[in-house]
Symmetry: C2
Subunit: 171 residues, 2 copies
């Protein structure tokens, strides 16, 4: 007896589902490029590479992890290099910051206005970005009742993803 009229998930997360990751990356990358162009933002080499790095995996990478990989691509191995690129991506809506992990992940829906919710697997570390129908609205509604004006939101859940859940007692 499903009582919800609308599904809880407006856009499903790709991370937990089988998909051609090459296509998924390319797709997001192209969208990111178009977006940046339209917004007059400069997707410089470091920034572009940083985004590629984030896109390589459906998990969140720490700034120093990104920095390592940037260094391997020939950029300077100084924290600000990574933090600046990541900050740019976040501001541009091309990446998100996962506070729970002190880490960053590529946005799967660049260009679409959305309040993302993250589902973080504590076993395999994968991170899925979902856009939920009701949550952002509910937070906003509560804020209005209190007279609080929301500027930014972090919605994060940690737990076990479908894949890891299946393996249960696996090594």
């Amino acid at each position: 007896m499903p009582q919800t009229v609308t599904p809880a998930i407006a856009f499903p997360a790709t991370a937990f589902k089988a998909h051609d990751h090459r296509v998924c990356c390319g797709d997001v990358m192209r969208r990111a490029e178009r977006m940046a162009a339209e917004a007059g933002l400069r997707l410089t080499p470091v920034r572009r590479r940083a985004l590629e790095i984030l896109l390589e995996e459906h998990r969140a990478l720490g700034a120093y992890e990104v920095l390592d990989r940037l260094a391997r691509s020939g950029f300077a191995r100084q924290p600000p290099v990574a933090y600046r690129a990541l900050e740019f991506l976040v501001k541009a809506g091309l990446a998100h910051r996962i506070r729970r992990l002190n880490a960053f992940t590529a946005c799967m829906r660049p260009g679409e206005a959305h309040v993302p919710a993250f589902f973080i697997c504590t076993r395999c570390e994968s991170v899925a970005e979902a856009v939920l129908a009701g949550v952002g609205a509910a937070m906003g509604e509560a804020a209005r009742e209190m007279g609080f004006e929301i500027e930014r939101m972090n919605l994060e859940a940690a737990g076990i993803c479908p894949a890891c859940h299946g393996e249960e007692a696996a090594p």
Copy 2:
């Protein structure tokens, strides 16, 4: 034309409202004591003091801020002292960790099962803990649809609190 049948906020946050803070602290402290006793948890001197410190203000304190104050109360000035006490409080449900701030705050509803949502004022740094009717449920529903099993959640919003909003162009 309010369309919601139930209010978005199940329990209102005290932080943004005028209240006798002495009473509010004492009240929470007593509940915490009763809770710990019933659960067979040891509310040792450091832990108790850490909780008192968190209760002193309706904002989140960093571990090192707590550590400073613990040190002033005669405890050792070593990071693990603070982190251990805070970890205990969080596990016992007497405090919450605000990931966005890398900081901790006392739980305002100890003993009551709840998924807290935090509203963080970026101007005065006050933090209000609210228990929202729909949000936890919506996250849970979405998780179920994905086959994700939630263990922990962080729902945080940053913005401007009612008090600061009123002052607007104040110095």
